[in-house]
């Protein structure tokens, strides 16, 4: 059935069930399409929201853990730092025309996604279906010792940190070794691909940080790039991450990243 064929009573039912949340994915997409193009339908939806709102107003407020605001703030900081180009999907995907639609998240490389992934692995309770739905997010996984050995990073000293930097659970693209005491960051290229006219820039991110910290550029063609991190700049906060963005040759022209995030990984202490 085309949108034009949805007549009076059907439209009313579609608007009502959209607000109830009982439409199938296909019907929901149709409703959100109509909301984009049809002011009368938007009004029908809003009228249903107003009718049902007392059921929400009747819900007692629930104290929110302090941690949530910190996560939101960190996420917004990352958004700001990444800039509009860092938001990969802002205008695509389903949209309801009033910013309140379902599925209407800007799917960016987010702290939230990383944190959710980390929780996923800890709890391991999410099904394969949910896993597929999370593929927009990035994997942060601990490197198995045998892999480290094969890649020549055996027996690192205590207080070192390593990140296996990859994309969507692919094989590692880079291994990043951080020694915060010595201030040395070693980036070992495993399978990272760099277009000839671009540079891969390495960023350090942690909770509460105003914006990602650039650690430098991955030297194209070298197996190992050594970068410097000033003491006290890295590994001072929670949830340390390494992120790699694609930048103009020579690196981002501004203090924060400008290009898309291509790889990421969580920094974990190495025993």
């Amino acid at each position: 059935m085309s949108d034009a064929e949805i007549r009076g009573q059907d439209r009313e039912a579609l608007a009502g069930e959209y607000v109830l949340g009982t439409l199938t994915a296909e019907e929901q997409a149709r409703a959100e399409r109509l909301m984009l193009t049809d002011a009368a339908f938007r009004k029908q939806v809003n009228d249903w929201r107003e009718r049902f709102l007392p059921l929400d107003e009747a819900v007692p407020p629930e104290p929110v853990p302090d941690e949530i605001w910190r996560r939101i703030e960190a996420h917004v900081n990352t958004l700001d730092a990444l800039g509009p180009q860092g938001v990969s999907n802002r205008s695509s995907g389903r949209s309801s025309g009033d910013g309140a639609g379902m599925g209407e998240t800007a799917r960016l490389i987010s702290l939230e996604a990383w944190q959710r992934r980390a929780r996923f692995w800890r709890r391991a309770t999410v099904s394969a279906g949910a896993l597929a739905a999370c593929l927009a997010a990035l994997v942060a996984s601990a490197p198995p010792p045998f892999l480290l050995e094969r890649l020549g990073i055996s027996a690192p000293a205590p207080q070192r940190y390593v990140a296996v930097v990859n994309r969507d659970g692919d094989l590692p693209a880079l291994l990043v070794n951080v020694d915060p005491v010595a201030g040395v960051v070693e980036v070992r290229s495993v399978a990272a691909e760099t277009p000839p006219d671009k540079s891969l820039e390495v960023w350090y991110i942690e909770d509460g940080q105003p914006q990602p910290l650039s650690l430098g550029i991955v030297e194209a063609g070298l197996d190992v790039t050594r970068l410097v991190a000033r003491s006290g700049e890295v590994l001072t906060g929670a949830n340390p991450l390494i992120a790699i963005t694609l930048e103009p040759l020579g690196g981002s022209p501004v203090p924060g990243p400008t290009g898309p995030l291509v790889y990421s990984g969580k920094l974990i202490p190495v025993e």
Binding site: W48, F52, L55, D56, E67, V76, A100, S110
Partner: protein, 184 residues
């Protein structure tokens, strides 16, 4: 923060948030997050999932405040819609549908106290009109709206086909609208 959802100038705050005002964003969060968390938690029934959905809600608010149209809806309605849609989206992403199937008794328990908790003053219309629905219509509408039940889950809960549930929901909505318009 002394703001509450009722007292804060949510429309003004949303305008400032649209201009990427961090201070206004914090005020908006302080005024609304506990209420939205309650609504999200009722749908998701899991604190971790609800926390993620609340975070996602405010990221959407931060990014989409500019698309909020004051001529079209009240700020509270828009904020609640963002929260509800995020929660329902998160619920539907979980596969398969929830394992806990409510029986008739559970339906009874959930549906009725909720209706009686409505603020009686200006909520007479919704309350009265929900009571006018057939029992099964009312329960399905309330379980869908408040607890995020899908048609399939309502079908499981009632032991009836989805098509029947759809008819109940649509007839219930139709009668609800007619009744509420009479009451205005």
């Amino acid at each position: 923060m002394s703001h509450t959802m009722e007292l804060a100038d949510l429309g003004g705050l949303l305008r400032q948030v649209a201009a990427q005002d961090r201070h206004a964003f914090k005020s908006l969060y302080s005024a609304t997050s506990a209420k939205l968390f309650g609504i999200i938690l009722r749908i998701l029934k899991d604190r971790d999932l609800a926390s993620d959905a609340l975070q996602e809600t405010y990221i959407k608010v931060w990014q989409n405040a500019g698309t909020y149209d004051a001529g079209q809806s009240r700020p509270v309605t828009w904020l609640v819609a963002v929260a509800r849609n995020t929660a329902i989206d998160a619920l539907r992403r979980r596969a398969p549908s929830r394992l806990v199937v409510e029986d008739e008794d559970a339906l009874e328990q959930i549906a009725d106290p909720l209706v009686s908790r409505l603020d009686p003053a200006d909520r007479q219309t919704l309350r009265g009109c929900l009571k006018e629905l057939d029992d099964v219509q009312r329960r399905c509408v309330i379980l869908a709206y408040c607890d995020g039940y899908s048609r399939a889950e309502l079908g499981q809960a009632t032991g009836r086909p989805e098509a029947t549930v759809k008819t109940w929901l649509r007839r219930g909505l139709q009668r609800l609208k007619a009744c509420m318009e009479r009451g205005l």
